[in-house]
Amino acid sequence: MRLVAVAVLLLGACAASMHPAPATPPSTVPAAVRDDLTRAEQELRRLDADVDALAAQAAPPDCQRVTLLRDNICALADRICRLTEEYPQETTLRPRCTDAKQRCARAAAAAKQRGCGA
């Protein structure tokens, strides 16, 4: 889509520089310029079709599965951190809790980024 937008802007700029004001009817546009515009329009249509095809190929994620896995990750992080609170004397637990919480946050962000869940 960005390609199309760039092409549109370029085309617009090009047309503006060649035709400062739309004072003349289209029939007076030189044939060479008209051919250029026609080719540009065809190219735009082709690019648009390419973008649509690419968008169709990118399958949406299975949000039910994504949110299930995200919830599993965060539930396990909670359990690890609860152990950390219950057993403060166990020094190996704190790093696991920190790591698990970070992974939970990353999972939540990734799911949200892909439009899965709040």
Partner: protein, 163 residues
């Protein structure tokens, strides 16, 4: 941890999909395991925990098919899910040692990074937790978390974009 739309159901459906490729023994075993899992569900709904346990024990004690790659993997999943359920029943009955035993048996069946292995790690972690073995519990929970994380990354990647 949620069971991913009933891990048992997923496993048994997967096996059903493969049963035509497998041997007649494999299909028979699948049918029997499916029947016993369903019966265990019914018995649990009625509060008959010993009866449910007997059905699940019959699945792991039954002669499971071996020999074909797909059937072997499906066999592993069904058995692991059965051990997971047995360990869960052990925990409900305050039998943490029994849960450790069943979870351990399930994990010795190997397997990759899937929810069947993750479920067994979670239930083993819970058994360690019940025994006051916090570091071992946290290690199992963390290992299960990593499996879920890998599965999440794969789900997002397969859908057409890394997380």
């Amino acid at each position: 941890m949620k069971r991913a739309a009933s891990a048992a159901l997923v496993a048994l459906l997967a096996l059903a999909g493969c049963s035509q490729r497998g041997s007649a023994d494999g299909s028979d075993w699948l049918a029997e395991a499916t029947r016993r899992h369903a019966l265990a569900d019914e018995l649990l709904d009625r509060g008959d925990e010993p009866g449910a346990r007997a059905q699940l024990v019959a699945v792991v004690d039954g002669r499971a098919p071996r020999g074909q790659l797909d059937a072997d993997d499906d066999r592993r999943r069904v058995l692991q899910d059965t051990y997971y359920r047995l360990a869960g029943l052990d925990l409900r009955g305050q039998d943490a040692s029994g849960a450790l035993l069943h979870a351990g048996r399930g994990l010795t069946l190997g397997g990759g990074q899937d929810l069947f292995v993750a479920n067994l790690l979670v239930v083993r972690g819970a058994a360690h937790e019940a025994r006051g073995e916090a570091p071992a519990a946290a290690a199992d929970f963390h290992a299960a978390l990593l499996i879920n994380e890998q599965l999440l990354a794969a789900s997002l990647r397969d859908a057409g974009g890394a997380p």
